[in-house]
Symmetry: C2
Subunit: 427 residues, 2 copies
């Protein structure tokens, strides 16, 4: 008996899924006994469906998909938290299992959707929501399940990793690489979700929830993007033996879950420092497995469709065999989120200040007054004649104190000529 599938959304990833079905439907039957039959394709426009010879099962109304008594499994590739939420919730309420690539939806409405899935005996799978084609959610839920996971670190946004890599390797400015990334289709016209760390924040919320068995939502994640990073910072970091990556981190601490996204200096010798360009990687530390890293292409039609269709084959196999849904929500614990102000780490700070006698001493004094101990201070000229850059690296300091020091510096009329650059250091 074929498993009847409806696909909603025929953009890049949806097209990739149709390609996989065209190429491998017979393989799925032969190798795994799973017969996937597409019964509905839904999108705003019908051209992709038509190109795949699916015009006869096309609709532009998702409510038809939800109302379709035949469809057992709905693949949601619309994205966002508006109509996508109606589609996923509607499908689950109608007793249909759902496969989605929607990180924003899972990171904001996960609890509601898991409850619906459970109430209606359906499955909700979302491997593609993090890391494109990289298997990470399934490994966390299965192979690594016997571990107490202590931390998850990810380079989970290909756009910013591509930008930081080119800025570091070619000394290009942020604006320049952003324009290039937009031209190549690696960045969107409004790049904020990527460059401000929102996309990465949704992904680490999902990973943290699974790794720590405790609900973490997008709102729980402190996020800082890469807008203030310059080639000067990347060169300074390299001189100190570090690469700068937009890292999404989640750590289990005695006080709760420490979860954040920000530019981060990581030692050049670390595996994560070598993840360049549009590649993604997720680094997991568990009490038994030690360190494990998952690396691959984080975006694009093929990788994302690989993850979506992997879920589809898996869920369809269970549907076909009449098996109950696999593991649903495992957020059994309610761990608090540690406020970012309590973070204790080392900091790199670059302040652009007027080129005058005593400025270094004055700035250093402000840090000292705020209980921030400095490890090194370097003063260097900038392209502007009357300005110098002060590069500070702190000993381990508390975020609250760093912020107080920066506020105090900003309040002085004759001190900061630009917003300071802050990069946290991970060892």
């Amino acid at each position: 008996m074929a498993v009847k599938i409806a696909l909603v959304g025929t953009g890049t990833v949806g097209g990739g899924c149709l390609d996989i079905l065209d190429a491998h439907r017979d393989d799925f039957i032969r190798h795994y006994g799973v017969d996937l039959q597409l019964v509905r394709v839904c999108s705003r426009k019908g051209d992709t469906a038509a190109a795949h010879g699916l015009a006869d099962i096309f609709t532009d109304d998702y409510r038809e998909v939800i109302a379709d008594p035949e469809a057992q499994l709905v693949v949601e590739l619309v994205g966002g938290t508006g109509v996508a939420r109606d589609i996923v919730a509607g499908a689950l309420k109608a007793g249909k299992s759902v496969v989605t690539a929607n990180k924003a939806l899972m990171a904001t409405c996960g609890e509601e959707l898991f409850a619906l899935a459970e109430a209606h005996g359906c499955e909700l799978a979302f491997e593609a929501s993090v890391g494109g084609g990289i298997p990470i959610i399934d490994p966390l839920k299965h192979s690594l399940i016997a571990n107490g996971i202590t931390s998850v670190m990810g380079i989970v946004n290909g756009t910013t990793n591509y930008m930081l890599t080119r800025m570091a390797q070619e000394g290009l400015a942020y604006e320049e690489v952003l324009a290039d990334a937009q031209q190549r289709g690696f960045a969107e016209a409004d790049p904020s979700a990527d460059v401000d760390g929102i996309d990465a924040a949704a992904k680490i919320a999902i990973l943290a929830s699974i790794a720590f068995n405790s609900r973490v939502t997008l709102d729980d994640v402190y996020a800082e993007g890469i807008r203030r990073i310059t080639p000067v910072d990347l060169a300074a970091a390299r001189d100190m033996g570090y690469a700068v990556k937009l890292l999404a981190l989640a750590r289990r601490t005695p006080r709760g879950i420490d979860v954040r996204v920000h530019p981060t200096m990581i030692p050049l010798a670390h595996q994560m420092a070598k993840v360049d360009g549009v590649f993604n990687a997720i680094y997991v530390v568990g009490d038994a497995v030690g360190e494990a890293m998952f690396f691959g292409e984080g975006a694009g039609a093929g990788p994302a469709a690989s993850a979506v269709m992997g879920d589809v084959v898996d869920v369809a196999r269970r549907l076909q065999q009449g098996m109950p849904p696999a593991v649903g929500c495992t957020c059994t614990d309610e761990l608090p989120i540690v406020p970012v102000e309590e973070l204790s780490t080392r900091y790199y700070l670059r302040l652009t200040v007027p080129d005058r006698i005593g400025v270094l001493a004055a700035a250093s004094q402000v840090f000292s007054d705020n209980d921030v101990s400095l490890r090194s201070v370097v003063q260097e000229g900038t392209s502007a004649r009357d300005a110098v850059d002060l590069f500070f690296v702190t000993h381990t300091a508390v975020e609250r104190n760093i912020r107080a020091a920066l506020d105090e510096l900003a309040a002085r009329p004759d001190m900061l000529l630009a917003e300071p650059t802050v990069i946290r250091v991970e060892e």
Copy 2:
């Protein structure tokens, strides 16, 4: 209802499993509703069982475990293909599911054991047989299932990777690092399974079987070890921009499966070149996912036990819910194995020859006579006064011709002063 488990083998990995049970049994209940109850521990000696307070359920006779009507799931950590085979086959015949870390067994008796599992409605899980704690078998069987996999490459033997890393970084000789590895417990007293590539061959046989849905056994894998690699070769490789790794490779080609283990030159910029020390990594290329890499600790109590207990929780969950076994054998195709003689690649060859006029020309002529086109030849002195090393790098050549050329050189009484070093080049 608790799932009743028997553990056979209480060495390093078995001890690690007991540690995980001690630490996380309550977590498994709370997070996943899986209650693991150890009902039997079997080993030749009872001290580990006693140390975990399990003397009352200890036996030194594995037949008692198989005969135990209570045990639903047997964990086999004995290793090898002797008694381990009796344990696994016996357990399956008795209707018990099995979790094993035994690569040699799976790579030689996989077909027989899968048939037994299917006949008796049991599950046979073996994530720990490849790559220690790195999730790779589960991802190949689930997240990556929608891909046509085209190649799998692995650094899957930590002992040899540790040795090659130290030889490359410190210029140490093979014998020196072997002795050191033995002292640290990274290599066994008889190191042949590791240094001759047998261990890696078993692992790539398992990975190839899953990736290509076609049975590959240990005997199908051409294996060459690292005994002839010297620091001179590693330095020469580095000068050319390559790292040397003992690579286990499996490729799907139009003529069948190309599967082998040998020292391999890989570009320094490749992710796999950066996998050093006792770490393992498996690199997968699929038609949808593109490149993906899985990295982690390939050996040791914790990592291996992480993989074993991940399988145990997964299988136990299905047993507890009365679900049928997950995917069993998926070797539905019968692809031929491509003989290694037909391999077509580039080669690095180092010949130690007498230091006399014309030797380079004579050796070069032999390659030319055998249809091997040379890309570069370098002659350098050795520590011996009367010998020089000739370093050849070929253009793409056929293995059969390389072997004919080396045989012809070996047959000349005045040519080779030592066994030549052969390293295949992967781009």
